[in-house]
Amino acid sequence: MRTRAFVNTACVLLAALFVFPVYWMASTAFKPDRDIISDPPTFLPWPIEFGHFARVLGDAAFWDALRSSLTVTVSVVTGGTLVALLAAVALARFTFRGRTGFVLALIIVQMIPGEALFIPFYLTLREAHLLGQLTGLMLVYLSITVPFTAWMLRGFVASIPFDLEEAAAVDGATRWQTFWRVLFPLVAPGLLATSIFSFITVWTEFTYAYVLINDPKNYPLPIYIQSFIGRDDVDYGPQMAVAFLFTLPVVVFFLVVQRRAVAGMSAGAVKG
């Protein structure tokens, strides 16, 4: 069939178009400087060179940035998920006055555009003497992750049949045992998925980090990557090497949650 052949060819060409930028990042990272600026360009990074990686890994600022990023991401993901789980259980397992209001607030809060908020964040953190500090950035990130994590987890908790907990309660389990032994294992996949969404959001956030962190010692990785852009020139080799290292965990995690990603994007999405 000629149409089928045409459709298949178009698919392959489009796939190449989507992949090429990412390929070019990796290929630039793995080839020596003279190949980066060669004319015609070198399309295959061969022989593979680790010079740029060596340069990045030998840069103390990279390790500072990695430490900052890990500190912020791990704290926000753990803390935020815990806080959100408590809220999710309350919203999915109890009926109480104000529940609908709270759920509505969770949605509306996610709709406030982040790009409008960096001014008040900047001033508030400044007053609290947290401007430029990772603690300040973490608090700001909590405000992004907690609403969408609570919202998503609420769905996960609600999808677990209540009968199980009831049976455990009838059998004499305490409330804490019921939560820990019955609900928690069942909601674990949901916790993993939401944690990954938080991880990706926090790890890759740029705007707040740029505005709120002014001390180079505290730069997280996104700002470190940006710092390769000089006045007139960019040091592309090392920049692409960091970009490659930075993107790797994101892609791996993304593949884990990809099936849920469409749902996740729309649930947590509107705040970006």
Binding site: V83, T95, V109, S266
Partner: protein, 312 residues
């Protein structure tokens, strides 16, 4: 694959019984989340609104010497010619990005539907890779692709004879800088949209299209008369989400053009940054931020309504 903002489930007998017994528990569980949302979000939003009625630079703010000026900031923003170039530019940019995203995504989704299995997998994998790439990395990569001196795009265009782009400076000209920004956004946005539309296409009963084909309808007629109306809710959601995302492009702009050349690619987010953080005019910056919030909240409202429609 799509999600829905379903209204909270009606209370069942068990939950009601539980509620009576443990009236206080849910409130305790909600305390941490409430504290986080209030302290880190609602307080700053309140600050922003208050500031939009005040005047003061950073020094004034620290010394708490700001002056209440009523609607002065709103008056000056709404009569500021720069604001009236930045606002239409932001809206126009988002409109172009959204339109292109949806057109390309629809094309990709239809291709996925009609391709052989191996080709479908190839395109899906390609899209997932682009989708997984963080926005800031996408911007950094595109800056390199479009580099004036050593960028591969200039080389490819010249080598294929499409243009004589030896050392063309894409970011040095306002309109080509726009083209680069649009391509960054569209490249990153198409995968999500295409896979959503493709998921929707799978739910359209093939008998409908088959019957129309037997009756002699053309492919485009089938799409517009049968497929598209059935997918309308998905498109509604995608349009609203994309408009919201494509209005917030601070990282893409800042990592490529920084708003240049000659302020030609400044959009709302960058403008707020320049006015507030750089220019220390916090009242004016807050006013623009409030206006932006109101516009996007309005859109979000439409989004929630669309989600509700789909849930029904």
């Amino acid at each position: 694959m799509t999600t829905t903002l379903a209204p909270p489930e009606p209370p069942t007998a068990t939950t009601v019984a539980l509620a009576k017994k443990r009236q206080i528990t849910p409130y305790i569980l909600l305390i941490p989340a409430t504290v986080v949302v209030f302290a880190t979000l609602l307080y700053p939003v309140g600050r922003m609104v208050a500031l939009s009625f005040q005047r003061g630079n950073l020094g004034d703010l620290i010394a708490r010497r700001t002056v209440w000026v009523g609607l002065d900031n709103y008056r000056s923003v709404l009569t500021d010619p720069v604001f009236w170039t930045v606002l239409p530019r932001t809206v126009g940019f988002a409109a172009v990005c959204v339109a292109l995203t949806l057109i390309v995504a629809t094309g990709c989704a239809l291709l996925l539907q009609h391709a052989s299995r191996w080709a479908r997998v190839t395109l899906s994998v390609g899209m997932v890779i682009a989708w997984a790439t963080p926005v800031l990395i996408g911007a950094v990569i595109f800056k390199w692709l479009f580099d004036a001196e050593f960028g591969v795009v200039n080389w490819l265009l010249t080598a294929s004879g499409l243009c004589d782009c030896g050392h063309r400076s894409w970011l040095g000209d306002q309109w080509s800088a726009f083209a680069v920004l649009v391509s960054i956004v569209v490249w990153g946005a198409v995968p999500f949209a295409a896979l959503s539309i493709y998921a929707g296409l799978l739910t359209v009963p093939p008998e409908l299209a088959e019957a129309a084909r037997v009756d002699g309808a053309s492919a485009s007629r089938i799409f517009w008369r049968i497929t598209f109306p059935l997918l309308r809710p998905i498109y509604a959601i995608l349009i609203v989400l994309s408009v919201i995302w494509d209005t917030k492009v601070f990282p893409q702009v800042w990592l490529t053009t920084k708003g240049g050349p000659y302020q030609g690619t400044v959009m709302l987010g960058v403008y707020i940054y320049q006015k507030g953080i750089v220019g220390s005019q916090f009242g004016v910056a807050s006013t623009i931020a409030v206006l932006m919030t109101v516009m996007l909240l309005g859109l979000s409202w439409i989004y929630i309504r669309a989600m509700r429609e789909e849930a029904r």
